[in-house]
């Protein structure tokens, strides 16, 4: 067996050359200008956290945020194969949300658009909490964003496959591209983890990773020297048969000592070593956090039977504890909600899109409340945002929708400049997209070419966290320089 070993340094150097040869070098002056513009931004020592809510499977965002005016609504309804008819087509032949009094309550107005002809939308009726937060200026939408290598039009798309990312429409690949904020294959680094690389030196407790996942392994939180700490939404559990809280019996101590010895050994085999490292880290962090986390209580009630809410409740506890114990000044959290891949059953059934958006809206609202002055008191310190690999075809497949491209994301927090839609990335495609099938920049089934690259969305959030140096931004977001705007202004 010969497994050739390349160092990460070598790997990164190769990677860097790819980026340099292509685009970054040519546009570095522009990045440098950006740095000057942001030079006044200094990394504050006050606590800040980013909370990523990943909507796995591809959220059908075009049913989350819908044009309200008649003209655009009619286009929307037609492209969605008609208005959903629960009586005659419960499966969901037509996917458009019906209008009516329920929808009128969800009406919102885009504060970035003065024209009443185009600035009216409604949110899915399952999301009244989000409507309220938008109207309070706490929630913003970033519209028609997706994986890109540079701003393009349909003409560019048709000219060369080099103009767009590989493996569009594939869950795994598009998830990676969102979590990397870099449409490149063969990468293992995420943009959150790389922000952690830059920011963690300011964290007083070096044992606790700046990146914490309540949703298992993910690429988003992996940096060069940053590995996410993975916590369950149930918090910490004792290790059976071991000494969790001394003093313990002699027999238990004997087992505990043996395990400690075994985990502390050096292993020639990568799998034994990889396992030992994780388990050891788990024991160390258990010892650091267990008593304190158990003693951290929240005043806010989180909705029950809602897995996302349970995850966000643990995030809220960790934020409260981290602030109280001064573990960290910067933290990056990851939670997720799955089952958005609604090829069928989108409009009906116990786990339809409405049910998922209800869970999402209620969980986010509880988290926002929990961050409020009556509880954790960190609304201005915490920014929550969504990622999801793609929106979906506008056109129905008879009972649901298929994989699309450009989508709508949400950002929520006291620092968010909410009540607005952000749909201008400085490229050729701007604004809320024309939803007519085969309109200039969408495909026959209503898959949208994005107007805003993932890196623009991500870099805006990274800069809020304090990652502002041009070299850091260029390292984390190698293609950012290809885009006209490097800060979208929503936070």
């Amino acid at each position: 067996m010969s497994h050739s070993r390349h160092s990460r340094r070598e790997f990164l150097r190769n990677l860097g050359c790819v980026a340099c040869g292509g685009t970054a070098a040519a546009l570095l002056p522009q990045l440098r200008m950006l740095g000057t513009a942001l030079a006044s931004t200094s990394v504050s020592s006050a606590y800040q956290a980013l909370v990523c809510v990943y909507l796995y499977g591809g959220n059908d965002a075009w049913n989350m945020l819908v044009p309200f005016d008649n003209t655009r609504y009619n286009t929307y309804a037609s492209s969605r194969s008609g208005v959903y008819d629960a009586t005659n087509n419960p499966g969901g032949l037509g996917l458009a949300l019906p209008t009516g009094s329920q929808v009128a309550l969800q009406k919102i107005v885009d504060g970035n658009d003065p024209s009443s002809a185009t600035n009216q939308y409604f949110l899915h009726p399952a999301m009244p909490e989000m409507t309220q937060l938008f109207n309070q200026g706490r929630l913003a939408f970033v519209v028609n964003t997706g994986s890109l290598v540079k701003p393009i039009t349909m003409a560019d798309y048709n000219t060369s496959s080099a103009n767009y990312p590989a493996q569009l429409f594939s869950h795994a690949d598009q998830t990676n591209q969102w979590q990397q904020a870099y449409a490149e294959q063969g990468i293992t680094l995420g943009w959150g983890g790389q922000c952690g690389d830059v920011l963690k030196s300011g964290n007083p407790n070096a044992q606790l990773s700046p990146c914490i996942s309540i949703a298992g392994a993910n690429r988003y939180e992996v940096g060069v020297g940053t590995i996410p700490y993975q916590l369950s939404s149930g918090g910490l559990t004792n290790l059976s048969g071991m000494c969790n809280t001394p003093p313990c019996s002699a027999s238990t101590n004997a087992r505990d000592t043996a395990l400690q010895t075994l985990l502390g050994e050096t292993y020639a085999n990568d799998f034994a070593g990889g396992y030992a490292q994780i388990f050891q880290r788990g024991r160390n962090l258990f010892n650091l956090l267990d008593t304190n986390l158990a003693g951290t209580t929240l005043n806010t009630m989180f909705p029950s039977g809602n897995s996302l809410a349970a995850q966000l409740q643990t995030v809220a506890k960790m934020i409260k504890l981290s602030m109280a114990q001064n573990y960290a000044t910067r933290q990056i959290y990851y939670v997720n909600l799955g089952s958005f891949d609604l090829h069928s059953g989108m409009m009906s059934g116990t786990n339809d899109h409405a049910a998922l958006l209800t869970s999402l809206s209620q969980a986010l609202n509880a988290f926002w409340t929990c961050m409020g002055p009556g509880d954790v008191n960190a609304q201005n310190n915490v920014t929550l945002f969504t990622m999801s690999e793609f929106a979906r075809t506008l056109q129905s497949n008879g009972s649901g929708s298929d994989h699309g491209w450009g989508t709508v994301q949400m950002a929520l927090g006291g620092a968010v400049k909410g009540g607005k839609l952000y749909s201008n990335g400085g490229g050729p495609i701007t604004g809320f997209p024309d939803q007519a099938l085969n309109a200039p920049n969408n495909f026959p089934r209503g898959q949208m070419i994005p107007g805003i690259g993932v890196e623009q969305y991500a870099a805006t959030l990274a800069q809020w966290m304090g990652v502002t140096s041009p070299s850091d931004l260029a390292t984390i977001f190698p293609n950012l320089a290809n885009f006209g705007m490097t800060h979208l202004g929503f936070v």
Partner: protein, 577 residues
Amino acid sequence: MQTASKAIAYVFALGFAPLAGASVHDQIFKGRFDIPTDQPASVNAAARFLTQATFGPTQADIAYLMAQGYGEWIDEQLSKPATIGEPTIEAIVNAGAKVTNTIRLNRFFWQAVYAPDQLRQRMAYALSQIFVVSDQASGIGNNYMVPLSQYQDMLAESAFLPYAQVLLNATWHPMMGRYLNAFHNVKATIVGGVQTTSPDENYAREVMQLFSIGLIERNKDFSPVLQGGQPVPTYDQNVITQTAKVFTGFTWSDAPTNPPGFYGGGLTFAGEYDPMACWGTELFPASSNQMRHDITVKAVLGGAMIAANQTCAQDVTDELAIIATHPNVAPFIARQLIQRFVESNPSPAYIQRMATVFDKPGNDLGDVIKAILTDPEAMNPPPPCGSANCDGYGKLREPVLRLTELWRAFNAQAPAPDPYGQIAMIGNGGFLGNFGQAPLESPTVFNFYLPDYQQPGTFADNGLYSPELQITNESTTYTTADTYYGFTAKAYQGMPTPPTDRPLIDLSALAANAANPAAIVATVNADLFYGSMSAATQSALTTMLASQIAVTNMTPQEEAWSAIYVAMLSPEFAAQR
């Protein structure tokens, strides 16, 4: 028991001649008492092989393998009929048990531990991680637990068939239909000459991305084909949209056709698990609005064309033949099988050897798994090396397999059947959350872990893959340990008030040596580690037992389960090399 009618149903649906055990596994020249030429070099070598090939070595299987040799043992396993679960599960449900997937999981683990067709069961489990369906989908859930159990049986019955036939069996199975939406998928809707809906693309995409060829063109050793230094995509979105048309018109096998009720059927368990019906031109004329299959011409993978106006069955047969003959299939599937049985990072030469076996005309997956298990790279681990992380050989043992290995090593005794006839195995359950995996419970079609997952640090730095480490984290190391505790310290024969919801392990051999820590450790080393335990690990366990012996009122049983439990948590047990 395999029922003849079910087997016939498959063959009919597939349009294939039955090729069960297409290889000739002929043993007539081998005398029973001869020493086989390929006898394992040692009991430990036999145990190591059985760790790769079964749900864990037992003393009986080790002795049998020593007597038979590898080749004969494998051939006998290839010819053993499938142990199946659905008839038992159906009987349990018919007796009035509450229908939940606990019944299915109890039966799965009972078969894993006690079925004689170990290699077939293990192969079916590996295939269930490639051809993924899951009770976590709302379209399956607890409601379709019984037909879902039959999906596992289908994989067991298909385990050694030609790949192309497994692909057909999986595609036509209604649980796959429901999981990836071919079920009730219909042709495009045309209103006033305008197409208002298109067929669902889910199965069209995943059958190629995950079950057969993957996203980019591969050489026979799995390396990417490069053009101008770039990988070459195997298909584009147009191919997906076109292929989606193939997978239209499916419903339950017993959906009534006269009068027609496309959305009816599924009235019996057989109706829920028999291969789907397709409402194409084989059932209704093209002009009928009951004809739900898209009969337009289809431009599919690699520029191939599927002609217009064919029956649905013909379209599916054509499409799956086009996919199954793509040169990617052999390296793509062989690599994943190697990952499930032997190692996470097979050498390109190993993959190429297996792909060659895979592609040899007349060969089936039985030939492939035999080649995988008898390849020098599987049989001969590289010699130990001295420094930290100098050895990327092997794999992390799946948490599920660590549990079955415990049961098989220590003669676990299953409880008596409950009043419904169910034999409880899984105790409090919750494996999916605690282990990050449970049979047919994947959170997504991407399985519990990706074949290309790279743990940050050593693996990613060195370009190595570590699939099972994707479900190993600070939380699951704890919950996995807690689960094992419940199956060791809390479940042994002779304990006061033993649980009745799980098997009880036999600690007697260890407890008999309660005064001799080294003897206890030696037994654990032989039974769980095929003798591979390092001196350091032996020392840690021996020291632990010596300390325990000194404790007042220490029982031999606590010493015994302590040795097993801590050994199961050890890094050397977690790794299989």
